[in-house]
């Protein structure tokens, strides 16, 4: 049963393959509960189309990491998931570990946060890259990894690969991990905060490499600026739900009060101090009544404390809906 969505217009990425309407990742009604009863995701719908990069932005506890891990099958054993996660035509929810091991690398690639933690410090970087095809039983790489490394800015890859991880910078190591994750050209590359453990200056280079290496990308990021610069669309998450989706290139302020608060709290060079947002986000263990953001929202109305706003017209806010 094919799942295709045809839209009337096709958008083009600024520098990259043409985005067409075919859906690479389709998430419907995803709810994830942890062993202790906490709801990490409270109902998420998301789509990543072929050729595009979607950024999941949010703070700790928003559920963005849980979402990314659900897409690559790395949820903890105690987690219970309901809903649907489709990669292309294939339903991924409920697959066994063995099936995931076969699919990871071929159907979906994964780049994690700390490259130094991902690499064995006692083996060479080349060994780490080679693992990506050895783990599937291939003795030869499916594509020319040396060329790919060079393309992403690693000079003299053949010699450099003999180094140990600590001899490379975090940015270079993350590029190597990106090449390893995309050796089989998987339709989707998932990156969980790939630049958070690195110096801020290196982030741009790594994210550009990620975009080049992946056909379609799901990027988890806590930094709005970086997300806006390197993705086609941004999905803002709060308390286990998506509260707003927008095109990165869309001008003007975001519509959801939380997205606006997030933007205002992001330091931008030259401006004054970023704006504070008092209070804390509700955690997975809290039972939510009404909008999760109502307690901290300057525009909250009566309806906001009673009923949970759904994601309609790309924003989940009663005040916006009533406009």
């Amino acid at each position: 049963m094919k799942l295709r969505r045809r839209t009337t217009s096709n958008r083009e990425a600024a520098d990259g393959p043409r985005i067409d309407a075919e859906s690479v990742l389709s998430i419907r009604g995803l709810r994830i509960t942890y062993g202790n009863g906490g709801m990490a995701l409270r109902g998420v719908d998301l789509e990543v189309r072929s050729g595009e990069c979607v950024a999941l932005v949010g703070e700790s506890g928003s559920g963005k990491t849980t979402l990314a891990r659900a897409v690559v099958g790395l949820l903890p054993r105690s987690a219970r998931a309901r809903g649907s996660v489709r990669l292309g035509e294939r339903e991924m929810l409920g697959l066994s570990d063995r099936e995931w091991r076969k699919l990871r690398g071929r159907t979906v690639g994964f780049v994690s946060q700390d490259p130094f933690a991902a690499c064995d410090p006692l083996r060479s970087v080349g060994h780490h890259v080679e693992e990506s095809w050895r783990v599937h039983g291939d003795r030869r790489p499916p594509a020319n990894h040396l060329d790919r490394l060079a393309e992403l800015g690693i000079p003299h890859p053949k010699e450099m690969l003999r180094d140990r991880p600590h001899q490379w910078s975090g940015g270079m190591l993350q590029r190597a991990t990106t090449v390893a994750a995309s050796m089989y050209d998987p339709p989707l590359l998932v990156a969980d905060e790939p630049t958070s453990a690195l110096d801020a200056e290196l982030a741009d280079g790594v994210l550009t490499s990620l975009r080049r290496a992946g056909r379609s990308v799901l990027l988890v990021c806590h930094d709005l600026d970086l997300a806006a610069k390197h993705s086609d669309r941004i999905a803002v998450m709060y308390a286990g739900r998506i509260v707003e989706e927008r095109d990165s290139s869309q001008p003007g302020q975001p519509r959801h009060p939380y997205s606006r608060a997030l933007l205002a709290a992001t330091p931008s060079g030259g401006g004054g101090l970023p704006r504070e947002l008092p209070g804390t986000a509700p955690g997975p263990l809290e039972v939510l009544q009404g909008c999760a953001f109502a307690g901290r929202c300057t525009h909250a109305g009566d309806l906001c404390t009673i009923s949970t706003p759904m994601l309609v017209d790309d924003v989940a806010c009663h005040m916006e809906h009533s406009r």
Binding site: P76, R77, S78, P278, G279, T280, G283, L285, G295, R296, C297, T298, A300
Partner: protein, 290 residues
Amino acid sequence: MTTTQERSRSKPESRSVVVRLLRHGGGRVGVCLLVVVTVALVVGPFFVGDPNDADYTNELARPSWEHPLGTDLAGRDMLARTLAGGRYSLGIAALVSAATLAAGLLLGLIAGLAGGWIDKFLSRVFDVLLGLPWLVVALAIVGALGPGLMNMVVALTVIGWAFFARLARNETIGARDRPDVVAARMAGVPVRRIAWTHVVPNVILILLVAVTAAFTEVVLALAGLSFLGLGAQPPTPEWGRMLAETRGSLTIAPWLVIGPGVGLCLGIAGMLLVSDALRDVADPSRHKGR
């Protein structure tokens, strides 16, 4: 209408190590086992006969109402001997553990806090002691002092404390760069107070983990030395000796191993469970992620 209220996170955690230990699943089981064993060994001997009461007309008797665990080669009641023997096997091991803990803690703290030549000198002492084969040292000491339980305690303590001293010293030195200790140093808190309030509680906990984990080895070392005739002298019941004594009679009287065997298992298992639980309590990050 923003609220400035910030909620503190989830469930209340206890400051007390004992409470956290009891909340830990494995810890609860371990503590229960140890309590049961301790009560049995302290109170039990009052309810049974004399462990040294030999009755050569009743050698190697099967378990019966009169002798629930049978009798040994000399016709002595195995239950009584097991309960009495436990006081030696586990009790002495606990004594040795406590002594090595105390000595190791003290000297390790001194080395770590004093630094300089005191640390250098003490570290050499630790290294030398740790490099010696324990059996040879035990033989030497017992050879000099004569066989017997108390002399064996001395021997095992002399062998064992260096391990804990080195551990305590390393932890103390490592604590120097912990952020909360650095903040205290910069605030001008005197070194002694920093040691007492920040460092020592942590070091004690870590040593407790190590000592409970090493308990098995102490029990086995004790049993081994007794087997060689260096420790408990006959007719003193000691589980290691008792097990060794069953060797010849195992095929005709297999029940002889029940008493000391079960006793050893329960005691050691309880201690190891407590050790694991303490490790989780000391470093909560180990427990997360599953």
